[in-house]
């Protein structure tokens, strides 16, 4: 799949007037679903999102946070109540017919006509957009379904359907690929193939928006990431920056006389705690300073490791969904204290997470959330 991705460079270019614009630009998107007996559910609460072209951008959020609704609104499947959306500078949904041929998308679980073969399903789609017939076999080859192309889709496994869905997105040779949980049902080889495919596409200039819950996957493949929670934007930025913002500033120290070293560091004003034979030193702006302090007392460090955050811990922290022992989590509700009461019906924004300051997507709503968060802190 990865090798074949390099053959995708012949796609149509996005309209020239918009090549410098962000691939996706969303501001203040709001969507409320009305349910029976007047009940309402706020799915999007002023969400902002910017995806620069030519990147693999992770789109993260807990269940019910509004990721799929955002994608649906962007693709014209759901009508937003408020907000503006642009794809390559074109306002959508108004200009969607002009830009849709540059966009390949898999939204949630892939759906095909079950009694038609994989090839026939793709051919029908290809004919809809005037894609050449041979392109169908090309994309089937890319996703590894060529040998099963004659089988009815109802006989496909979930992973095979996922591959077929990805093949469908590639038919148009898109400039923007929107993948909502593309790894669902894929085996490890398939996951790697999809990852390599995305990287290959991005290297060829395709923008990829990847919505996924597999955070390790996102961390590996994405250049930048946006995290949303409860219909609002939380943080956006390059993965490294988001991780740095979520880092604790702790440093792991290994030294021969740990007891004495702890005393020395404590005297120097650093919070220290023991972790077996190791010391964990907190709030260290520059780890080399630990080396200097200990060396003055002739204590020589054999290991000095800044403890970085992984995307999972940052995600859980930012979205307030870190599991709490003894408590069951509910969809749409954070675990963390202070984040529990849904503010959807009173019109007030939800309390922001602790690390909302990271990332470049600074918006009025975001600043408001940050200030609110600082006040609470």
């Amino acid at each position: 799949m990865a090798a074949a991705a390099t053959r995708l460079g012949s796609r149509d270019t996005v309209p020239a007037s918009s090549t410098t614009a962000p691939a996706i630009e969303i501001q203040g998107l709001r969507k409320t679903f009305r349910r029976g007996l007047g009940a309402r559910h706020v799915a999007l609460d002023g969400l902002d999102l910017v995806v620069e072209p030519g990147r693999v951008h992770g789109f993260l959020g807990p269940n019910g946070s509004g990721k799929t609704t955002t994608i649906r609104a962007l693709l014209g499947l759901v009508r937003a109540d408020e907000g503006t959306m642009r794809l390559f500078g074109h306002q959508v949904p108004e200009a969607l017919p002009d830009v849709i041929r540059h966009i390949g998308a898999v939204v949630e679980s892939p759906q095909f006509f079950p009694h038609f073969s994989g090839r026939r399903n793709l051919r029908l789609l290809a004919q809809t957009a005037g894609v050449k017939r041979r392109r169908v076999d090309e994309v089937l080859e890319i996703v590894g379904l060529h040998d099963r192309a004659k089988d009815a889709v109802k006989a496909y496994s979930l992973g095979m359907r996922q591959r077929l869905a990805i093949a469908a997105t590639l038919l148009k040779e898109p400039s923007l690929l929107i993948l909502d949980e593309p790894n669902n049902g894929l085996d490890p080889a398939g996951i790697r193939e999809v990852r390599d495919l995305m990287r290959g596409l991005a290297d060829g200039g395709v923008t990829v928006l990847l919505s996924s819950h597999i955070l390790a996957e996102v961390q590996q493949v994405c250049d930048s990431v946006s995290i949303v929670s409860r219909g609002r934007h939380v943080v956006t930025g390059p993965v490294a920056e988001v991780l740095a913002a979520g880092a604790s500033g702790d440093v792991r120290v290994r030294v021969e006389d740990a007891e004495y070293a702890a005393t020395v560091l404590t005297e120097a004003g650093l919070p220290v705690r023991r972790d077996g034979e190791l010391l964990i030193v907190s709030d260290v702006a520059d780890p080399s300073w630990i080396t200097q302090v200990l060396a003055r007392r002739r204590l020589f460090v054999s290991e000095l490791t800044p403890i970085g955050a992984d995307l999972e811990s940052v995600f859980l922290d930012l979205t307030g969904t870190t599991p709490v022992p003894g408590r069951s989590g509910q969809v749409g509700e954070p675990f963390a204290a202070g984040l529990g009461a849904p503010p959807r019906t009173d019109g007030k924004p939800p309390p922001p997470p602790r690390h909302a300051t990271a990332g470049p997507a600074e918006t009025p709503q975001r600043r408001e959330a940050d200030n609110d968060g600082q006040d609470r802190a």
């Binding site: 499947l77 849709i100 029908l124 004919q127």
Partner: protein, 402 residues
């Protein structure tokens, strides 16, 4: 252009569509078999016998008529000069006598009976006060086992020949007195063509509903909108594909049906009398039949599209039949003019009459006739289909696809 063509290919690629087409083929085959079943050509000898029998029967009717006009007390005597040949079955002779002035309700159901005659036929419906048309009981379908009285005739019933000029009695004819069934393309094909229209409409309704309902259920509608986000265009393309498919199926079905029936008539019945007038008339039946099928298919399509469920169209049809066709018809007679069946009948049969009975407290009833023209029926059915199609398009254009 491209989208509707793709949709057309998908429509015919569907399993349900293929099953429905098989069903249609089976029903047409059954119609053809029924046309040929028990039918045989009429020989010169058959015709001579039937003409003799018919002449005798007319003579008897005139005798009864004259007896009635003369006072009706005496038993009318059979005219020996026009006596039937001994080979004429008595049952045929007896059964052909006009006894009841049945209401000739037009129907789309194919009939093997002869075309109703409108010549001076005695009416027994004196109480109704209307001169209703007599519906003959054809000899070919005679089941009576009674034996005609020899040398005397059944006395006329009170009022049976009121207002009838006995000299103008021209019924029955030789065709009615045949002792076997002969499938006549000329006489029977128009009714069969109308029945075929009803079959096409039924198939169109089911296929139209299933075609879009399944797409909603499989979730492929959202996938399609990722390729063509203009919803009205998608809607129109699908409807157009359904229409195109149905027209193709309808024309083919009629062509095959006509050819097969003509072949049966040529082999086992009467294929004569296919004049230009009949051809034109059948052509118009085909046009009206296919137009009806399109309208009914659009109804099924629209309901399933709006509700996003094939079963909803089926449920709506059942609810309509139970609630309106049965319930409303029983509750208020006047509502009949708004029932689909009456309007469809009017459209297919170039108009229909709805007979309403108005009874007073003494039990005396008068009959009222509502005329429903072909264009009224067509406008009603077409208008209903148009309204449903527009509503479904608006719903589709505005609702979220989740």
């Amino acid at each position: 252009m491209r989208l509707w063509w793709v949709e057309l290919r998908r429509l015919f690629g569907r399993r349900f569509t293929r099953l429905a087409l098989l069903l249609l083929i089976g029903l047409v085959a059954a119609m053809v078999v029924s046309a040929g079943y028990g039918s045989r050509k009429t020989s010169e000898n058959d015709l001579a016998r039937a003409e003799q029998a018919a002449a005798q029967e007319r003579s008897d009717q005139r005798a009864r008529c004259e007896t009635a006009h003369a006072g009706g007390a005496a038993t009318p005597q059979r005219d020996r000069s026009a006596a039937p040949s001994p080979t004429v079955p008595a049952s045929a002779s007896a059964s052909a006598a006009p006894r009841v002035s049945a209401t000739p309700r037009t129907t789309a159901t194919p009939s093997t009976s002869a075309t109703p005659r409108t010549t001076a036929t005695p009416s027994t419906s004196a109480s109704a006060g209307a001169r209703a048309l007599a519906t003959p009981t054809p000899a070919s379908t005679a089941t009576g086992s009674g034996t005609a009285p020899v040398g005397s005739l059944e006395p006329p019933l009170p009022g049976e020949f009121d207002g009838v000029d006995c000299a103008t009695i021209t019924y029955p004819t030789a065709t009615d007195m045949m002792d076997h069934r002969t499938f006549s393309f000329r006489d029977e094909m128009p009714a069969r063509a109308a029945f075929l229209a009803a079959l096409l409409a039924l198939v169109g309704y089911l296929v139209g509903a299933s075609y879009v309902g399944a797409e909603w259920q499989h979730g492929t509608m959202a996938g399609l909108l990722l390729w063509e986000p203009r919803r009205v265009k998608v809607y129109v393309a699908k409807l157009f594909a359904l229409f195109a498919g149905l027209i193709a199926v309808g024309v083919t079905t009629y062509a095959v049906g006509f050819a097969a029936h003509w072949a049966v008539a040529d082999l086992l019945g009467d294929a004569g009398g296919v004049t230009r007038g009949l051809q034109g008339s059948l052509g118009l039946v085909v046009v009206r039949g296919i137009a009806l099928a399109l309208a009914i298919a659009a109804c099924g399509f629209a309901i399933a599209y709006a509700v996003r469920l094939s079963a909803a169209a089926l449920g709506a049809a059942i609810a309509y039949i139970v609630g309106a066709e049965i319930g409303l018809r029983v509750l208020t007679q006047e509502s009949q003019r708004w029932l689909l069946t009456e309007n469809i009948t009017a459209w297919l049969n170039r108009g229909t009459k709805i007979y309403l009975s108005d009874c007073d407290s003494t039990g005396r009833c008068t009959e009222k006739i509502l005329d429903l023209t072909m264009w009224q029926g067509g406008a009603y059915v077409g208008g209903l289909a148009l309204v449903l199609a527009v509503v479904a398009a608006i719903v589709f254009a505005r609702r979220d696809v989740t």
